[in-house]
Amino acid sequence: MSLTTAHSVVAPSSNSKRIAGAIIIAYALISIVPLLWIFATSFKTPPDSIAYPPKILFQPSLEGYCNLFTTRTRQTPEYINSLGPATGFCDETTRKRNMVIAGPSNFLPRFVNSLIIAFGSTFCAVFLGTLSAYGFSRFKVPLADDLLFFILSTRMMPPIAVAIPIYLMYRELGLSDTALGMILLYTAVNVSLAVWLLKGFIDEIPREYEEAAMIDGYTRLQAFWRTVLPQATTGIAATAIFCLIFAWNEYAFAALLTSGTAQTAPPFIPTIIGEGGQDWPAVAAGTTIFLVPILVFTILLRKQLLRGITFGAVRK
């Protein structure tokens, strides 16, 4: 009789490994192709971008990126010829299309808005989430289960159900089209996720750590800061990336509540299409740049992300 039965795992056969590999590769291709298409389009010239049949091989150009960051006006060839020599690549490309650069576009400020709002709301949600998760995990909170369910239930409502009330409230409170308003909104949405995710992580940290620190002369807050937080970093990182992805990608509320100074990148990018014809390379360039921060973050924190998805099922 084998004594190892309890621990043995059925080793996958090489055939099933091959099939699994094929499925994963196929799925990865399906997911990646649209991204590659956007990436490729961002380096095409406008004529190449609408060529039929689509060009797989093409002469790369930065025209899309030039157009993304600038606004241009159409001029007569005589006027363009009367100007001095072109000051750079973008200037030159624009003149070839019978246009001159009128000034910077709104993309950069919109992108900065996105950064401020997404990181700001992520910080607030994770900060509040960590403290409340710690409270729920360690103290006898009256009606703790009901409160936790209430916090979770704020996520159950479809955003459209609260869109109009929030729009009206924000108008009254002067929060419309402000970065603060968007940070508050995204924090409110994310804090429920943060509390639930982090409670799971903090529950896993034995309370003996803080108790040991408190006996050794530390206050509870010091004990929390010095013993719980360092051990919760994985969970905090996982939670942060989830909150960040939500706040970064959010479109509906951003489109509804921001239009000018506080507009984020997602509602801005589609508006590029309207400026001077269907400028697909510029849209693709905007999308590509917009993808970069999340991509970098996800790659940096991929281990924590995986652990976050499995909700602490994997032991340290």
């Binding site: 003996e208 040991a212 620190a213 408190m214 006996i215 050794d216 360092p230």
Partner: protein, 370 residues
């Protein structure tokens, strides 16, 4: 160093009473063990002394000061947890120095103190290692180091050897006692393991259902159990019980068990007729064919120097510890003689021990020494 005085301590969690009316004194420099099955309230008592739980009632005095409601950090005690609670994000040196950091001690002094402590525990070669890579015994030593580095008033230990392998455990029992002999710190130690308790303690409190059943030296607890629970909990195999009926009169020296007359230590109180039990340790039973107390051998456990023999009598199984050389086989009929001087008598209803000569002899001896 300090004396710990616990008075009428009580703790209830809702309707559940974890500790009721606990009273004991741990004298300065004493190694005190709270022993009992899980859920008996020993850890709760310890946590109240530490300040990690607040009592529902009663008082805790540390060197005469009432600390009942003080925060843990204001009590100047050290606590060793069952799971050690070593901080995984710090190395051994930082773990041991952590309590000193709280006092705002200059880092040079922390360094010296940590190194002294590590030397005392023979872990100075591990100071710069990460705690996650340490073996069980070394983790235990680091946890002890963190406790003694601050030179607190007393040490509280909550089953600190519970997670160690048997091999480490025996070693650490020895080391703990040796450490105690060197630094003479008042120690309260919680365990469910009677071997740890017997081999380390100066005083033991045996707890059950939140009540201290007996408080005394290991010898008192083993030889003169105050209740049937203590008699049954201590000893391996535990004390045997033989039922008998009728009351006892002061001065009685003999009882009748299963039709056999058994001499007992002189009874020193009158007991009204009730169900009674005679308690006898396995090592105080001998085989003697002349005895009227008889049974059939049910099974034997060979232990090398001795063997445990289970004998089926009219009143259930009795276990005897006899020399290993005696040849016995299952089904043999044997007679049992009990060493009269070592017998205990209990009232079955309350489980309380009947006062006999053995108690008085002990107290006489104590007064002479005192």
């Amino acid at each position: 160093m300090a004396e710990i005085r616990v008075q009428h301590l009580r703790k209830a969690f809702g309707d559940f009473v974890a500790v009721q009316d606990s009273n004991f004194v741990v004298e300065d420099g004493e190694f005190f063990v709270m022993l009992g099955p899980s859920g008996c309230g020993k850890t709760t008592t310890l946590r109240m002394i530490a300040g990690l739980e607040l009592p529902t009632g009663g008082q805790i005095l540390l060197s005469g000061d009432d600390v009942t409601m003080l925060r843990a950090r204001e009590r100047d005690i050290a606590f060793v947890f069952q799971l050690f609670a070593l901080y995984p994000h710090m190395n051994v040196r930082k773990n041991i120095g952590f309590p000193l950091l709280a006092q705002g001690m200059p880092s040079a002094e922390i360094r010296t103190r940590v190194e002294e402590t590590a030397k005392l525990l023979r872990i100075d070669h591990l100071l710069n290692k990460s705690v996650s890579g340490l073996a069980g015994g070394d983790r235990q030593r680091v946890a002890l180091g963190r406790a003694i580095v601050r030179r607190p008033k007393c040490f509280l230990m909550d089953e600190p050897l519970g997670t160690l392998d048997t091999e480490f455990r025996d070693l650490m029992v020895h080391e703990l006692r040796e450490l105690h002999n060197r630094i003479h710190a008042t120690t309260v130690y919680v365990t469910h393991d009677q071997m740890e308790a017997m081999s380390m303690a100066d005083k033991i409190a045996v707890m059950n259902h939140g009540v201290i059943e007996q408080f005394g030296t290991p010898r008192e607890i083993y030889d003169r159990p105050a209740t049937m629970f203590v008699a049954d909990f201590i000893g391996s195999p535990p004390m045997n019980f033989l039922g008998f009926g009728g009351g006892l009169a002061k001065g009685a020296r003999e009882i009748v068990v299963q039709g056999a007359k058994v001499a007992v230590p002189e009874v020193r109180e009158d007991i009204a007729p009730a169900d009674m039990a005679l308690g006898i340790r396995p090592e105080h039973i001998r085989f003697d064919d002349a005895s009227k107390l008889r049974g059939a051998i049910y099974g034997t456990e060979y232990l090398g120097t001795t063997q445990i023999v289970a004998v089926e009598t009219a009143d259930g199984i009795i276990k005897a510890r006899v020399p290993a050389e005696i040849r016995l086989s299952t089904g043999d009929h044997v007679g049992l003689t009990l060493s009269s001087a070592r017998l205990s008598l209990f009232e079955k209803g309350s489980g309380r021990a009947v006062r006999t000569e053995i108690h008085d002899v002990a107290s006489e001896r104590r007064t002479q020494h005192g």
